[in-house]
Amino acid sequence: MSTATSLVDRLVDRWGRLMVIGTPYIFLILVFSIPFFVVLKISVSTSNDGIRFEDLSTFNDWVFSFTASFQKYRFLFTDDLYLNTYGSSLKFATINTLCCLFIGYPFAYFMARSPVSIRPVLLMLVSLPFWTSYLLRVYAWKGLLDDSGTINSLLLSFGLIDEPIKMMYTAFSLSVGMVYTYLPFMILPLYANLVKMDGRLIEAANDLGASPFRAFWLVTVPLSKNGIIAGSMLVFIPSVGEYVIPELLGGPETLMIGRVLWDEFFSNNDWSMASAVAVTMVFLILFPLALFNKYQTDGVGRGSV
């Protein structure tokens, strides 16, 4: 009997542990790896109508054949449209990330330095926008920025301008919408990092002759590096592939990769091309970032955060 119990125990022990460790992996495989490989497969498949695909590997009459077509990739790298769009996506994502960082850092710093009693309120305020649909909130900017929108009407009625300033459907309106939407994703990780910062380190820096401003640059900023990286990743990665905001607020000169993807899928019905665009985006942008992220966070001392 005792051996049986111990066998059960051992099984539970072993499988229990596997399940605890395995669950996140299974989740990642299901929602990330499998879809990614499906997309990858589509991108190298050939098709006549763009939607039904030939099998990549065949096994007929004892002959195994494997065909993958890299035609879409070749096209992608020779047509200016795609490369320009990647460039423009990166540009807007970078602008967005930097704006979020410069607005978000002081904000997070202020929150982390406020009295403990009012911090929950401030946190609530930062996450309050999530209570309304993101689509509506982005759309609301149109009412503000339009030629006949609130801002232009006010300026006109005060006589400050003679004709409306063109803000809608420009890089400006796109950036405003992006920064507005992504700001909380910058503030929250920065806040989480800054709030843990040991105030005595700042005092030590002051004590050793650093003015409050230098202490901030020499101690606070380097020590919040992980928060800066985390926030920037959270903002940068989704902004590269952003579709809705450019669609609602962007104009003709603000083409982004999300738009191209959409067009390939739904207008051109060329799933292979769309998949190739997506896969290239992952390899060109996201993998280097992921590596950078890992390298950066590993490099920071254990004691720092």
Binding site: D198, R200, L201, E203, A204, A205, N206, D207, L208, G209, A210, S211, P212, R214, A215, L218, V219, P222, L223, K225, V300, G301, R302, G303, S304
Partner: protein, 369 residues
């Protein structure tokens, strides 16, 4: 209590003048005055929450005093922000910069002074040699042991050659054995550098061994300021006697008061004290007697009119170099007696044994309550 422990004006290197710090309506530091001489190691000693750190932080400039003044070499520093004060503080948990190496930590203050690079390197090297951490120069703080971190923190403070060194519980984070060793090392370094030093501690042994002078603090005020042996041998109050070391206290009334001696009647018997006091006959006071200043003997002494009491041994504890006996006196009070072992032997007195407890008249201190 507004005792003034200031010296003459000429000797004061640091002068703390009627300094008060209130948090809300609680005075964490209450009207404290003190002069510190150049080159002195001064300890602020007191139990938790008595205001030691607050006083130290006011010296460093991290807290603004509610009232009073601090001056260094005759110049008031009260309006100087921390980064301009020629003082450096070693924080309780060291506050080393985790993103900088040992070398960079030590160089931090020097760079802020705009010292030339070559000079910084030489100074850092000198500091590393002093605290014997040369091999660890490139490590980050989290790769060091507690004792090593403590030495980096000390080197970082001393690198700037401060006029005043402030230490907040410098040994608080170390384990007992390392503490004793580090205690002496720290004093040697401070004395070698010659820097004036204020240190905060709640450990009376630490204060006694390290400091030239000690201020015993309670509830934001100084209760007694003096050299370690003065505080130990002639505590000025029951509080100090009780706080510093072990003590037996006997409550009684004054019966004889002469210039060179006084006598006090207690329920345990009569004490003959070898110093005079200013008091009136019949006033109630207490007599303090340290355990190690008591003798035990089996036979009655010749003169049993004073400073000799009958008692029964309750139990004893063997501590290697000495033993502590607990003795119930005939008058009902239980006292502690420490007997140093001058030669190798077992228990001198057994449990339940009748003994005579004696002491010399100069071992007794009268405390006016």
């Amino acid at each position: 209590m507004t005792a003034n422990f200031a010296y003459g004006a000429s000797k004061a290197f640091v002068r703390i003048d009627r300094l008060t710090k209130r948090f809300g309506d609680v005075a964490a530091v209450d009207n404290v005055s003190l002069d510190i001489t150049k080159g002195e190691i001064f300890a602020l000693l007191g139990s938790s929450g008595c205001g030691k750190s607050t006083l130290l932080r006011m010296l460093a400039g991290f807290e603004t005093p509610s009232e009073g003044n601090i001056s260094l070499e005759g110049v008031s520093v009260i309006n100087m922000p921390p980064h301009q004060r020629p003082m450096n503080m070693m924080f309780q948990s060291y506050a080393l910069f985790p993103h900088l190496t040992v070398t960079e930590n030590i160089a931090f203050g020097l760079k802020r002074d705009g010292m030339p690079k070559a000079q910084i390197n030489a100074r850092v090297e000198e500091m590393l040699n002093m605290v014997q951490l040369k091999r660890y120069a490139k490590r980050k703080p989290h790769q060091l042991s507690g004792g090593q971190q403590q030495r980096v923190a000390l080197a970082r403070c001393l690198a700037k050659q401060p006029k005043l060194l402030l230490l907040d519980e410098p040994l608080g984070a170390l384990d007992r054995k390392l503490r004793e060793q580090t205690q002496f090392e720290l004093v040697n370094i401070i004395k070698a550098v010659g820097v004036t030093c204020v240190l905060v501690t709640h450990d009376q042994e630490e204060a006694m061994t390290m400091a030239d002078r000690i201020a015993v603090m309670s509830e934001g005020s100084f209760i007694q300021v003096g050299r370690p042996h003065e505080i130990y041998e002639t505590p000025s109050s029951r509080f100090v006697a009780d706080f510093i070391g072990k003590v037996n206290l006997f409550d009684g009334v004054l019966v004889v008061d002469e210039p060179d001696h006084c006598e006090i009647d207690t329920p345990q018997g009569r004490f003959f004290v070898g110093h005079g006091i200013t008091g009136t006959i019949g006033m109630s006071l207490s007599v303090a007697l340290r355990p190690e200043k008591i003798g035990l003997q089996a036979e009655a002494p010749e003169d049993i009119s004073s400073n000799a009491f009958r008692g029964t041994v309750v139990d004893s504890g063997y501590y290697g170099s000495f033993s502590v006996y607990r003795v119930d006196l005939a008058g009902g009070q239980r006292i502690q007696v420490a007997i140093t072992h001058t030669e190798r032997h077992d228990e001198l007195y057994r449990r339940g044994e009748e003994v005579w407890v004696t002491c010399r008249s100069d071992a007794l201190v009268v405390l006016i309550n």
